[in-house]
Assembly symmetry: C2
Homo-oligomer: 235 residues x 2
DNA sequence: CCTTGTGAATCTATTCACAGCG
DNA sequence: CGCTGTGAATAGATTCACAAGG
């Protein structure tokens, strides 16, 4: 094994984004296995449960270090702890949500946002109707006061489209450098801010794209809002 | 221009997934431009607003056909109509949401789920407390009755983790072939079912990963739950 | 003998750079 | 002359296939 390329002692290799996104999936699957009594797991099993290729599992995990035992597999418990460490969820991350409408409220109460590693420390809105209400155990505060509070590590934008850029500017001015945007809007941020999108509308449109193609391939004209043209079949 | 590789008349080229995901973004940006009075747009402008590289915009759009005019750019209105057609959102897609908790309710009321192309035709749950209530303009029905209703094109899983696979099975048995899963759970579906994930927990963990790395690089020890080791600075 | 870890091969996506057209 | 459309170059991710280790 080469210890040649740069530093890596204590997980310091470069990890591709595609891998980063799969690590939480492995972690989740491993936790399930652990609960059902498993102690070791092979890349083959893990791959099966995560619905990916086994070679990919091994390559992904090898980026964190050599944690497996040849002939046996990986120790589930130990692997979880290594993944958690790599993901940084062995720390505590303060999260603020801006925009406490239906979605913001749902996020504040969701499993994902209240799991190990993440702590909702602030909820913000601009509407007087919402400010002062309590969601979960947190009181919604005026967005204008955000800068007075301790700066969260992660800011979540759950406002309507029109307000998203402005809110993002407020967050970044307060020093937030990781933003998760749920508004259907492309955002501009400085190069030192990490920005990710969760876009429901895009997901639906992607589904629509593939479903359309499928109908077209199948020549399934009954499903199309076709107006009496002769069906173009590919039999 | 080569008309050699296979069929393409009327948008039948293979379109890479990465492109499919960007098309709704272009569409959104173009709609905004149109509203502010623009009629034509260059790849450069579009790229700027969508925060991507201009060559990528041109390559993406060229996959739909040659819709631009050299020296001038693209006609915004026409381009929108072509993107809509490629995405299939010029049709109407019946959408069912299963799991009418906080998240399901938020989705049912969201901009994205009620936009052109998508129509919520069914809301389902298993809890007697929720069945019969009205969300938006739709009454929540018993999931057990789903098969009695017309089959939706797209099924949205918004249940807690434990119920997600079972619900997915109900949906696919009813004939649903596009599933959007919000539950933090890997799902198994047949090869003819298109499955996409929206996973809040994963998004947060990805942010956590990059934020951790940043702190580590910066040697920002004040932020770490460090226990008195001497700071490794890079001054 | 079983399973990891990883180079090499392949596939996919992005970016460059420019010919060609309006 | 400006901007599109696209081959060719590059970068990134996945998969194969196997040597090496317990």
């Amino acid at each position: 094994m080469s210890r040649s390329t740069g530093d890596e002692a204590g997980s310091r290799r470069r990890i591709p984004e595609a891998t980063v996104v799969r690590l939480p999936v492995y972690e989740r699957v491993l936790s399930g296995l652990l609960r059902s009594g498993a102690t070791t797991v092979s890349s083959e099993q893990l791959a099966e449960l995560a619905r990916v290729n086994a070679a990919k599992v091994r390559k992904d995990l090898s980026l964190l270090g050599s944690f497996g035992t040849r002939g046996t597999g990986y120790d589930a418990q130990f692997l979880i702890s290594q993944i958690d460490r790599a993901l940084g969820v062995d720390r505590d991350w303060p999260v603020a949500i801006v925009g406490i409408g239906n979605l913001g409220r749902a996020l504040a109460n969701s499993e994902g946002f209240n799991s190990r590693g993440f702590r909702i420390t602030g909820l913000y809105d601009v509407s007087p109707e919402v400010i002062g209400t309590v969601v979960g155990a947190v009181t919604v505060r005026d967005l204008a006061r955000l800068a007075e509070d301790p700066c969260p590590a992660i800011g979540v934008v759950a406002t309507p489209q029109g307000a998203a850029q402005e809110v993002t500017d407020v967050l970044t001015r307060a020093g937030v450098r990781s933003i998760l945007n749920f508004a259907p809007q492309v955002l501009a941020v400085g190069p030192d801010v990490m920005l990710r999108y969760v876009d429901l509308s895009i997901e639906l449109q992607v589904m629509s794209f593939y479903q359309s193609r499928r109908y077209a391939e199948e020549g399934d004209v009954t499903r199309l809002r076709s107006v009496g043209l002769s069906p173009t079949r590919e039999p």
